[in-house]
């Protein structure tokens, strides 16, 4: 069963003579529990595609059904609610709130979903433990290394058990060792049944993916199953 079903996705930027056509009629589907890696050179449109699939942006044309819901038709407020309840995100540069501790960062989406403080704390601690940061609940992001921050970001993304986890070049700002650890962690999460869509430009990090989609100039040019 496809959890993501996107058809004829176009995304243009600018107006008039300076329109840039970044996505040119992409069709893509992702099965529940699948781990899809999107690869391509810089400017290929892979991140833009992920923003459309993850309801962070609206395509200029096309439909995107996620878990049966056409996210293109949702209002801004409904999309925010949808992202909260259905999706998880890992950004390239960790994107943690600098004023909040690791635990509080992870708790944020849980509290927003209405979980009470004590349960959110327990769930956050479990998620932090699961990414190998046992005991670092009270550390501020600035007190953690880049790799550790990214693991907190992963903990935040998975703590609320999203239906799909999106990762936008999660290793881009990490050294090779930390990058490998993060990729391994994402692989482990996938093994627990998590649907994952990851954008990367490094082939070596796609080893755990079920399928690799290659993009070039706003189009899918190739697909490969691992």
């Amino acid at each position: 069963m496809n959890i993501i079903e996107a058809t004829n996705i176009h995304r243009t930027f600018g107006k008039g003579a300076v329109v840039t056509h970044v996505l040119k009629g992409i069709d893509i589907s992702v099965k529940a529990g699948e781990y899809v890696a999107i690869m391509g050179k810089s400017g290929a449109g892979k991140s833009t595609l992920m923003y459309q699939l993850s309801a962070l942006d609206e395509p200029t044309e096309g439909d995107i059904f996620i878990d049966g819901e056409n996210v293109v038709e949702l209002s801004e407020r409904e999309r925010t609610e949808f992202r909260l309840n259905t999706l998880g995100y890992i950004f390239q540069d960790y994107a943690l709130v600098p004023d909040l501790s690791a635990r509080e960062n992870v708790m944020m989406p849980l509290l927003m979903r209405g979980m009470n403080w004590a349960k959110a704390e327990q769930a956050a601690d479990r998620a932090i433990d699961s990414v190998g940061l046992i005991g670092k609940y009270h550390n501020l992001p600035a007190e953690l290394s880049g790799g550790e921050q990214q693991r907190v970001a992963i903990a935040r993304a998975v703590a609320s058990e999203p239906k799909i986890l999106f990762a936008d070049e999660p290793t881009a700002n990490l050294d090779s060792i930390s990058g490998k650890q993060v990729i391994d962690l994402i692989g482990e999460i996938h093994k627990r049944g998590q649907t994952i869509v990851m954008v990367t430009h490094e082939e070596e990090y796609t080893a755990d993916a079920d399928r690799i989609i290659y993009m070039e100039d706003g189009k899918i040019v190739n697909e490969k199953k691992n």
Binding site: L56, R77, T80, F91, E104, M108, L111, M112
Partner: protein, 415 residues
């Protein structure tokens, strides 16, 4: 509710992690704004309150008895005085006889009768020196010479405004006399009757009614002005601490004293211009304070705007992971509320813990008043509410401007 919880967490943590010096500076600015709002009008009103207090202490007392409608004097003055013993609320009182007369100085030295006489039409008040001093402490206002002795006659106290030297200070507003020092002889003339007095003292106060007056013992007043019935023009009463002047007035009325005299509390009997000027000063102070309010709201706007702008990407990410806009806006409103609360609390502490007491001990010396700081709790609360609401709005608008921006643009740092 969920947004409020998240907003509280974000807001409190931002305050907690912010630079202590920046936070202290913002709170200091808010404290100055609060002081500006409360103290400026407080001092302006305090100038008039100082004058009001002086009139109450040195002239009118807490309750004023004057002639009832249709009469020239208080009726049955002696009976009323006798009844005072039955009112434990009365601390002290004075009986005053008032009229006008012509006062002449330097008439003994006047050799050429073609030259102008040194005369002035003056207010004359007949008093029992002991009772008056007990009530108004008027002897403290004697700046040269001595106060009247209850056992002496033929002495007069002259208000400073009747001296030529006062005209040098304040301008030629009143008729003045060339009296230099106590001990000089003056002549008081009422109709065809004249009497010589020795100037016992010069009296000066910030209450015009005192400085623009002459005082002689009541016995001499009654003889000079032919007031054989002993009915006075004014009775002023000081109420003991802990008792209410309103209650005493009610008791007077209940016992029928209002048939013999018009009875007013100080608030009722004080000159209306005092109330009017106080209201004007309050308005003026509020206007000046509101300029500070505008400055403070702009300050808060800029602080929150820069803060939100510098965290634009984080705001985008929070929205990206599903945090509602309201939660993020609440976080910034909470920061603004914290600054307003902390600044106002410090300002209130300074006003009620130090400034009011300081100005009571060291009033600001103005020509017409010893100015104090007046900050009634209800008006201070009102000004705090105005400052608080203004700050919340000034905090909300920039947060709203930043938070409403496109989520992805904010995440990617795009315009």
């Amino acid at each position: 509710m969920r947004s409020l919880r998240i907003g509280l967490l974000l807001g409190l943590r931002q305050i907690q992690r912010a630079s202590i010096w920046t936070t202290a500076l913002i709170i200091f600015v808010m404290m100055l704004t609060f002081l500006n709002l409360v103290v400026v009008s407080g001092v302006l009103v305090g100038l008039i309150t100082g004058a009001e207090r002086a009139v109450r202490n040195e002239s009118l007392g807490d309750i004023i008895l004057s002639e009832p409608t249709g009469e020239k004097t208080i009726i049955e003055t002696n009976s009323i005085v006798s009844s005072f013993a039955s009112y434990p609320e009365i601390d002290s009182y004075s009986i005053r006889y008032k009229s006008n007369a012509v006062l002449e100085a330097n008439y003994k030295e006047r050799r050429n009768l073609n030259t102008e006489r040194d005369i002035a039409t003056v207010n004359v008040t007949g008093i029992d020196p002991a009772l008056e001093d007990n009530m108004s402490h008027i002897s403290d206002d004697v700046v040269r010479g001595e106060y009247l002795d209850p056992n002496e006659e033929g002495y007069i106290l002259i208000g400073y405004y009747y001296l030529e030297e006062s005209a040098d200070k304040f301008g030629d507003v009143f008729d003045t006399l060339g009296i230099k020092n106590p001990g000089e002889t003056v002549r008081l003339t009422v109709g065809d009757i004249s009497k010589e007095f020795v100037v016992k003292g010069i009296i000066e106060s910030k209450v015009d009614d005192v400085s623009l007056n002459t005082y002689i013992p009541e016995r001499e007043f009654r003889r000079l002005f032919g007031r054989i019935d002993q009915n006075a023009d004014q009775r002023v009463i000081r109420v003991k601490s802990g008792y209410s002047e309103d209650d005493l007035k009610k008791a007077f009325v209940t016992n029928g004293l209002n048939a013999y005299a018009k009875i007013q509390t100080f608030e009722e009997g004080k000159p209306k211009f005092i109330t009017d000027i106080k209201a004007t000063m309050n308005l003026l102070g509020t206007f000046i304070g509101s300029i500070g309010l505008v400055v403070a709201s702009i300050t808060i706007f800029i602080i929150i705007f820069i803060n939100a702008l510098s965290r634009r990407r984080h705001i985008g990410i929070l929205k990206g992971i599903g945090i509602e806009r309201q939660a993020i806006e609440i976080a910034y409103v909470i920061q603004a509320a914290f600054y307003a609360l902390a600044g106002s609390a410090l300002g209130a502490l300074l006003i009620y813990g130090f400034l009011i007491g300081y100005f009571e001990r060291n009033p600001i010396a103005f020509p017409f008043s010893d100015g104090v700081l007046v900050a009634p709790a209800n008006e201070t609360l009102l000004r705090f509410i105005v400052l608080f609401i203004t700050t919340l709005v000034a905090g909300f608008i920039p947060a709203w401007m930043i938070v409403r921006q496109n989520t992805l643009n904010a995440i990617l740092g795009r315009k």
